[in-house]
Symmetry: C2
Subunit: 245 residues, 2 copies
DNA sequence: CGGGATCTTGAGGATGCTCAACGCTAGTGG
DNA sequence: CCACTAGCGTTGAGCATCCTCAAGATCCCG
């Protein structure tokens, strides 16, 4: 019923309440969750929605950070490049995620849509005004930044010290855990990103990622389903593979 | 004696100088820089100083995060462990740095003193009360967390995509830049940490770090001075070695 | 169906790791 | 004052993991 209301409301964004955010399907899992309706309407006043096609760039590393985003649907990859083209993906964003937590003057990374993406766009300066008005917002941002830091440290451990197999298993488990956190089943897990993206996220090559998937499939710990879905028959037993040989 | 003063000051928080922080040598480069004397005395009221010997643990990953710290002197390493003992150092802290920016319930990493360390300790709950009172403090924390995130992403790029040589050069350059930012000469650079620590920070082995230093020395781009100092005759030319083969 | 992109598989090779020995230095005690 | 030891750093040889290059398989969308 709550879901029904949301679905209906989504079809008429500029309806009755006057505030499209009130009906936002991802409101409760986004930064907006901390705001009441009045505050939300203030945020809505500076927001614009936008859709982005796959492979389209959203922000560019080094550019002035004039805009911040809330992903309302789809998948996004964040990455950094070396001069010779080597690429490190620093994270994937999905619906509900915030793009631009680090309120720096310039973007620290580029962002590109993986799938069809819809997002909610805010001018940074006006968003920062709201932050000053709503301490709750700042507190929430700090908490989100803290969580990102923890994730970043886990990723450093993965990149610096884990084997290819541990990297891939850790990756699958993190997607599974994320799904569970969002109320979705922990298996099967969707992989909207390409093997090349996974490789650039894990510090491997596409070939190694592919071989590792094949090997995991062979030992029965995963199953590759059509539509880029991966089944994890026994997530618990995977934990051991994720951080010890 | 500094400790004595603090102990006395603690008993009379509103004494002559007002508070010990007013005379703190790292005040301007720490989180305290945003506070005025009145606010600082409030912070001083919940602070305790502490000294830690080399190889002594300051916090343990997974423990309840009851305390936060400001490093007033010395060097600290932050690290995470895998069950089999593999270690990833996620960062080094020096004087002026804040330990515990991510205000999470449990510590996301362990911290250990590299050299003799002095620090300023705060109970987290009381510190959070001050945050609510002084929005400046929260803003500063968010900014520090943002900067850490940027650094973390750089480190991911390093760990995932750079060669051993690029890693070592990047590391030396980051130490050099840090020194310059603090008003110290960019060369020579001090390496208070062991080769093993550097290796665990860069995702390498001590042998590879050692060999790489030797090779860099051989090609004349660095010089190893006594006292674990490294001279970078031409920091500019090093930039190329840090991110392209 | 066809064609381009993505994914998989294979063979060979390089980077960095493992295991091992040796050197250096500083602290210690005779 | 010097020999001794322990810890750290360096060097060497062989090897494993993962990368590179290449070809074939599969998928997806028109």
């Amino acid at each position: 019923m709550a879901a029904d209301e949301l679905r209906i409301a989504r079809k008429k964004p500029d309806m009755a309440l006057g505030n499209p955010c009130a009906a936002c399907s991802i409101r409760e899992m986004s930064i907006c969750a901390v705001l009441d309706n009045t505050e939300l309407s203030r945020l809505a006043a500076i927001a614009r929605t936008q859709t982005v096609s796959p492979r389209q760039t959203i922000i560019d590393e080094g550019e002035d950070a004039k805009l911040l985003f809330n992903i309302t649907s789809g998948a996004v990859k964040l990455y950094k490049l070396l001069p010779d083209g080597r690429r490190q993906i620093t994270g994937f964003l999905f619906e509900g995620d915030f793009l631009g937590i680090a309120l720096n003057e310039v973007y620290a990374y580029s962002a590109e849509a993986i799938s069809e993406v819809t997002l909610c766009r805010f001018p940074r300066n006006r968003f920062e005004t709201l932050i000053d008005e709503f301490p709750k917002l700042e507190k929430q941002l700090l908490e989100m930044a803290s969580n990102e830091l923890v994730q970043a440290q886990d990723q450093m451990l993965l990149l610096g010290r884990k084997t290819a197999r541990e990297k891939v298993v850790s990756f699958l488990l993190s997607l599974s855990r994320r799904a569970r956190r969002r109320g979705a089943p922990p298996s099967p897990v969707a992989l909207p990103m390409s093997r090349a993206d996974i490789a650039d996220y894990l510090g491997l090559t596409t070939e190694t990622v592919s071989r590792t998937f094949t090997a995991l499939k062979g030992s029965g710990v995963i199953r590759l389903l059509p539509g880029n879905m991966v089944e994890l028959p026994n997530p618990e037993s995977l934990h051991d593979l994720a951080d010890s040989a």
